[in-house]
């Protein structure tokens, strides 16, 4: 199977006053299509920065990211936005719904952006909302939904463009255990059903265990990289 995401010698530095802070330090790995991978590590280890770089939300200081055989480095911000729109889905810890849009409208945004026919988009969005159990809340605004419901809307939005790869940043971090479990279940179910590659950033080891592969980050470096079948460790 080919790699849907290839990361080569990725480094991200930030200026902090006169000092340079290396948050991601020369990391390389590849992710096979259709698999799930958890990026774990303690707070401040650089896992969210790594996710941002992999999803093309940020530019590396050096190294490269190849997503769906597209090298992200040379692309402009708008070209990367177009790549995200076609191939990528997102689920965030803080849900990140547009507060002025209803649940249905939030879900429709990625496809509407492509200029697809509203009727079809609406049909698919309603269907997805039904799948996440919010068929009766389509016209509610984010402020009228609970945290778990908001995250379910976010999941529906993440899957509407049938992404090849889904990036999830602490998807259950803001939820109680029971709601969190339900959201986890949804993500993994849809992932399997839609044959999506899942990259999950979390410090919840239980959640990470559900993935095919776990990459542990520490101080900006890959501390360990474990795949479930053949337990290979890279230091």
């Amino acid at each position: 199977m080919s790699n849907i995401l290839q990361v080569n010698n990725l480094t991200r530095e930030f200026k902090s006053g006169s000092k340079i802070l290396t948050v991601v330090n020369d990391i390389s790995f590849g992710i096979e299509e259709g698999t799930s991978c958890a990026i774990v590590g303690p707070s401040g280890s650089g896992k969210t920065t790594l996710l941002g770089l992999c999803a093309g939300l940020d530019r590396p200081s050096s190294g490269e990211v190849i997503l769906q055989n597209i090298k992200l480095n040379p692309l402009s911000e708008d070209e990367r936005a177009s790549v995200r729109n076609k191939h990528v889905g997102f689920v965030f810890q803080t849900f990140q719904l547009v507060p002025t849009l209803t649940a249905l409208e939030n879900v429709m945004v990625p496809l509407e952006l492509r200029g697809e026919a509203t009727k079809d988009v609406r049909k698919r969005a309603v269907q997805l909302l039904e799948e996440v159990g919010l068929g009766d809340r389509t016209h509610h605004y984010p402020t009228q939904l609970s945290g778990g419901e908001q995250q379910r809307v976010a999941i529906a939005r993440a899957f509407i463009n049938e992404p090849k790869i889904l990036f999830a940043d602490e998807p259950t971090g803001n939820l109680d255990t029971e709601t969190g479990d339900h959201v986890e279940e949804l993500i993994f179910d849809l992932n399997q059903k839609e044959h999506t590659t899942l990259i999950l950033v979390t410090h919840d080891l239980e959640l990470a265990e559900k993935c095919d592969r776990i990459i542990k980050i520490k101080n900006g470096l890959v501390d360990s990289d474990i795949t479930k079948e053949k337990a290979s460790v890279t230091k």
Binding site: V98, P99, E112
Partner: protein, 844 residues
């Protein structure tokens, strides 16, 4: 790019913000309303002037002279047309016997015929057709109403008492404001000499009106009259010229008002920019999400550009509607100054211009914050960062945007003023003003951050630190409100400055009543009446009229023929009213030479003293000779001294003073000044003198001040009415800016309360912040306006200006109260909200 999505998104995203957006829109509404009202009104006026061009003059040609027309001129005028009407205009006291009131009036002795175009409107309507035949008078309606008189009563002009046939409502070509300088009284020209007012000393203006027969070429007549004018010294006006004069005056007034109105629109623009800035700051997360799911930077920007544009369009449309309504009110304000009846119609050009300007201003100013959207990174979805929007824009983008705004403002001013230099000066002045205001706001914020003493109470420290913390209103308020205050206050102060130069009331040592045109044989009688009333004569000066025959041994005619001459025509040809005395008076200071008080030898040139103001206009210097024509007798003189004269005093001042011993035998009349202790005694003595000597004119200083005050008041009211739009815009912008920070303020207040702050403390913090903002905004605005007034006084009016501190203090108090009210209204309900509700809510 999917435009349909962008429009859809713009619509959806605005849903929960429309109430907030309305306030921003209101700023544009007011700005556009001012614009549309003035430009529509200007069009109405231009059309009215063009439609009523003939009525502006009442004839095809008007010829005027300060002395009887020469036979040569009359012969030519007779050759043009036989349809002529003569008029003799002069000022004189009139007496209304029924009330015993006297009033310095503008008398016109009329003949049949005038006006040939239009109609003198009177009450009753037929009075204007019959008063000449009935040998009666027409009198301004305002004075009749004021004195409770009506047609049927009488008016005494000089020695003749005329029945009042009708009240004058409107005379073609004259604005109502004409009567501010004295009521108009029309009497028959026939037998006008019986009034006894045509004696020497009265300033008579001879006028002749005529119509052109069919086929007359006005240009040919104009050229011929121009040629004759070189030697005959008269003035003339034809319809085209009058229309042009009036049109220019109206256009100047309209342009000026337009620029004041435009400032309101610019303030609206600044308001829009600051509001959109705050708005976009609240939208950063949304933009980041949209960017994350694939929206391009252009799409993201377009969403908010569409919102700003639509807001501008709706605001401009409502503004245009409001402007069209205000336009209906403007004629009420200015009709008195305009010599035509204003016809009202909807000017679609003005409405479309207003719409266009409104949308353009909204978009151009909104571009400032909107350009920053392109730089909002999708990464903000992962990390909630405090973003400084203004820092997201490159220097180049900012320079380009400022350039676009400067060009747009200059372009608009250029269209309005018709002169590029004036437009550049306007933009430059406005720019300097805004820079000063912006600089001051930065200073205030830095100062507040640096100098808040630690020892001050918590409320003071918190209230003051609100001036610089994120989402503060300091810059917005100081810019918009400060500019509005500068504008309005400059007008007030300039008006006050002009009034103060003539306000002699309360200065006991200065005369408050001046009597003119006292004939030689009346002087003792007038003086006796004054003394019998127990009043003291301050001055009793003889006046001799004369003209210049030659300067430095070159005749006036010869000097006038020289087209490269340095001397001014008026100075060479005017009738001089000179006096003679042996010393200088209080209002004069010797500048050069020696003041010689008396002479006995008339065979040598007489030493005269000349006002230094006149030297340049006559192109003469100390020692130069002048020969005077004193009613037919040449008197040779030389300038032995020059004097500075303080003309701004209510007593007779003179360009030329002769020594005693020369003019005593010449025909002369007198002017007398006195000080009356009260308004009643002033009116009483005026009545006594006018009844005994009807040709004597009285100038009551108190009345002049009232007249000027009324006149200035009417003009400044028009300007202030338009300027008011700026203040309203400033207030709306303030309210808008306060509303955008409402949530933050409520949240903060609730947090403070949760942490144990008392309600009183929370209120005090807010009061301190808004009082400070109000004081700072009004102080900077007033400082700038004082600066403007000082500059205006120094370079334009040539007056040393001392600001009236009572006015300034009153303005500060009023403005602070306004700001405080708006600020506190914004935090209304703050204490009723349960903390939990506020802490959980995302949108309030």
């Amino acid at each position: 790019m999917s435009w349909s999505w962008v429009f859809k998104m713009a619509w959806r995203d605005s849903r929960s913000n429309r109430r907030k957006l309305f306030l921003y829109m209101a700023a544009i509404i007011v700005g556009v309303a001012a614009q549309v009202a003035i430009t529509s009104f200007r069009e109405n006026l231009n059309k009215s002037i063009s439609d009523q061009s003939k009525e502006l003059l009442g004839a095809d040609l008007e010829v005027e002279r300060n002395a009887p027309f020469q036979p040569e001129l009359l012969a030519y005028l007779d050759s043009i047309s036989s349809e002529q009407s003569k008029m003799l205009a002069f000022s004189s006291m009139v007496l209304f016997p029924e009330t015993g009131t006297t009033r310095l009036s503008q008398i016109s002795a009329m003949e049949d015929g005038f006006p040939f175009y239009g109609h003198i409107q009177t009450n009753p309507a037929e009075a204007s057709d019959t008063y000449l035949d009935e040998f009666g008078a027409l009198v301004d309606e305002a004075i009749l109403l004021q004195l409770g008189l009506s047609p049927g009563d009488s008016v005494k002009v000089g020695y003749v008492t005329y029945p009042i046939i009708g009240a004058i409502q409107d005379i073609p070509g004259q604005s109502m404001a004409t009567s501010v300088f004295g009521p108009r009284v029309l009497i028959p020209l026939k037998d006008v000499e019986n009034t006894g007012l045509l004696e020497r000393g009265s300033r008579l203006e001879h006028k002749l009106y005529l119509t052109y027969p069919e086929g007359t070429e006005p240009k040919v007549i104009e050229e011929r009259l121009d040629a004759m004018n070189d030697s005959l010294d008269f003035r003339f006006d034809d319809i085209a010229e009058r229309q042009q004069e009036v049109g220019e005056a109206v256009s100047n007034l309209a342009s000026f008002l337009n620029l004041i109105g435009f400032i309101a629109l610019l303030l609206g623009g600044i308001g829009i920019a600051s509001s959109i800035f705050v708005y976009i700051r609240q939208k950063i997360a949304t933009v980041a999400v949209l960017r994350c799911v694939g929206a391009s930077s252009r799409q993201a920007m377009a969403i908010y550009l569409i919102q700003a544009g639509s807001m501008g369009f709706i605001g401009a449309a409502l503004g245009a509607l409001l402007g069209a309504l205000v336009q209906l009110y403007l004629p009420v304000l200015v009709q008195d100054f305009i010599p035509v009846d204003i016809e009202l119609f909807i000017s679609w050009t003005s409405i479309f211009t207003g719409l266009f300007t409104g949308v353009l201003i909204s978009i151009v100013f909104a571009l400032f914050p909107l350009m920053a959207i392109r730089k909002i990174s999708p990464l903000f979805t992962l990390r909630s960062a405090e973003v400084n929007l203004s820092k997201l824009m490159s220097l180049l983008t900012r320079v380009i945007l400022y350039g676009v705004i400067t060009l747009a403002v200059t372009g608009y001013a250029w269209i309005m003023l018709g002169e590029l230099i004036a437009a550049i000066i306007f933009t430059f002045g406005l720019g300097v003003c805004l820079l000063l205001l912006a600089g001051f706001s930065v200073l205030v914020m830095k100062g507040a951050r640096k100098f808040i003493p630690i020892g001050w109470s918590y409320e003071w420290r918190q209230g003051l630190s609100n001036l610089y913390r994120p989402n503060n209103q300091t810059s917005t308020l100081l810019l918009t409100f400060g500019l509005g205050v500068t504008l309005i206050s400059s007008l007030y102060l300039s008006q006050d400055m002009l009034l103060s130069t003539i306000d002699f009331e309360g200065q006991d040592d200065l005369p408050n009543l001046a009597l003119f045109d006292i004939q030689y044989d009346q002087n003792d009688g007038v003086n006796k009446i004054i003394r019998d009333n127990g009043l003291e004569i301050i001055q009793n000066v003889p006046i001799v009229t004369m003209r210049i025959q030659s300067v430095k041994n070159i005749s006036v005619d010869k000097i006038l023929q020289d087209t490269s001459r340095a001397a001014r025509r008026w100075a060479l040809t005017r009738e001089y009213r000179s006096t003679y005395r042996d010393s200088l008076v209080d209002t004069e200071t010797l500048e050069e030479g020696e003041f010689i008080g008396s002479v006995s030898d008339l065979s040598v040139p007489v030493p005269i003293s000349m006002s230094s103001d006149l030297l340049e206009d006559l192109n003469v210097a100390l020692g130069d000779t002048i020969v005077w024509d004193i009613q037919g007798i040449p008197i040779s003189s030389y300038i032995s001294s020059t004097r500075t004269v303080n003309w701004q005093t209510p007593q007779p001042n003179f360009f030329v003073v002769f020594p005693t011993g020369v003019l005593e035998p010449a025909p002369q009349f007198f002017a007398t000044t006195l000080n009356t202790p009260s308004k009643e005694s002033s009116l009483d003595i005026q009545q006594q003198i006018v009844q005994a000597y009807p040709n004597v004119s009285a100038i009551d200083v108190g009345q002049i001040i009232n007249t000027v005050r009324e006149f200035l008041g009417r003009i400044t009211f028009v300007i202030q009415f338009i300027g008011l739009f700026s203040i309203i815009t400033g207030l709306i912008v303030l309210a808008g800016s306060a509303t955008t920070s409402r949530y933050q303020r409520i949240r903060e207040a609730v947090l403070l309360r949760t942490l144990g702050a008392k309600q009183r403390q929370v209120v005090r913090i807010q009061v301190i912040e808004y009082v400070f903002l109000g004081i700072l905004a009004s102080l900077i605005g007033l400082t700038l306006s004082v600066g403007t007034s000082v500059l205006l006084g120094k370079f334009y009016f040539e007056i040393d200006f001392t600001p009236g501190f009572t006015i300034l203090a009153t303005e500060v108090v009023l403005l602070v109260l306004l700001v405080l009210t708006i600020g506190l209204l914004n935090t209304r309900g703050i204490h009723k909200k349960p903390p939990l509700e506020v802490l959980r809510a995302e949108n309030i």
